[in-house]
């Protein structure tokens, strides 16, 4: 009979993979230094981190593992100065991803892929913060000149955010396929999965 509760081994795996994910996220985040790149950041993150999360999902096929894994990074980001909204947003996203994974019984590639695509949208929360704090930001940038403020107001809107979310999902799907290819090529052979 297969034990379906999270054991110590799984919890340790969650911690280790959270560190890898965190480091990758920050190195990819460096491109956010160019403000426009913020908008494609979720897509790129999805492509790069696909392998990590897919390997994680292949290793730990148990309920609630993805939720705990996913909530750790936003949690650490909150300690580094983001708002509580990021964590709440991530929690909702992770819950949906977890449920999708449950439908596929934790081991079907199709549902794991969908689940990762949803999982990947949590990072949009950090952009949503900008939207929620928009007035304060615009007030500060007033001295930059009217044209700048206008450009900004046009850029940061809800329809554009929907595009960012779509980008995140597309990036997630691409990342999941790359992850699957790499899993087949390297990790199955090495006996990791």
């Amino acid at each position: 009979m297969k034990e379906n509760r999270l054991k110590i081994k799984d919890l340790v795996t969650i911690g280790v993979f959270a560190v890898i994910y965190f480091v990758v996220m920050f190195s990819v985040g460096m491109i956010g230094l160019i403000p426009i790149m913020f908008l494609v950041y979720p897509t790129i993150l999805g492509i790069v981190s696909g392998t990590i999360v897919m390997l994680f999902m292949a290793k730990v096929q148990k309920p609630w593992a993805l939720l705990i894994f996913g909530i750790l990074t936003p949690f650490f980001m909150m300690v580094e100065g983001h708002t509580y909204m990021l964590v709440l947003h991530a929690f909702v996203v992770m819950l949906i991803a977890e449920l999708i994974r449950r439908i596929g019984n934790y081991n079907s590639f199709k549902y794991n892929m969908l689940s990762f695509a949803i999982f990947n949208t949590w990072i949009c929360g950090s952009l949503m913060q900008m939207l929620w704090a928009r007035e304060k930001y615009i007030e500060m940038t007033m001295m930059m000149g009217q044209e700048y403020v206008d450009a900004l107001v046009k850029l940061v809107t809800y329809p554009h955010m929907a595009l960012v979310y779509t980008g995140a999902i597309v990036g997630g799907v691409i990342g999941a396929f790359i992850g699957k290819a790499l899993l087949k090529k390297h990790f199955m052979k090495a006996g990791i999965v």
Binding site: V19, G81, T83
Partner: protein, 230 residues
Amino acid sequence: MYSVKSNSLNPNPIPKFFVTVLLGFTILHSINHYSEWALIIVISIMYFINGFRKEGIQNIIVFGILFFVPDFTILAKFPLVIKMLLSLLFVVRMFYIPYASGKFLIKTSDVGSIMSSMDFLRIPKAVSIPIAVMFRFFPSFEEERNNIKMAMKIRGIEIKNPLKYLEYIAVPLLIISSNIADDIAKAAETKCIANPIKKTRYITVRVHIIDFIYAFIMTVIVVGGRLCLH
């Protein structure tokens, strides 16, 4: 992580974390400028009484620069591209106050006290074990990454295609990491981590007066700053 002697001037991680979350509110709901300065100064004072002088001074100087950046009207004359880059400073300025308090949390508390405060708050094992592993694994992750880079350099593998490079780095890193994960799990099992009784910790969390003072002062400043705005 720095090891800090447990003393009555260093608040335990719980109020520090509470303050960080509280200051997160100031991003979405702006507060009075004077209160912002008050928050930064309180954090610097906390650094000073715990002996972190450099960090305390640095904190004030960095916030000072960020605070006055929007006042330089000369910036408005720069071309749009430079303005775009400068706008990053505004983002940093918005997030600086909670960041300062988070940095204070990380700098002045060690892993042991964070663990025992998680026990104190009755956080389930499913969350506290991964967090502990994260602290344990961060240094060895950096080590492994440098090892792989060095091995690539020795064999003269050059980076031409960034996608290939990613594969060369990521695959061994992931394999090593998942082996380390198994090792850590075995070590933890050997130390009987699954034992359901209450654990004794090397560092225990004690509640001092400074905890209440720190949390109370910060709350008053934030609430006061919010009320003054209206």
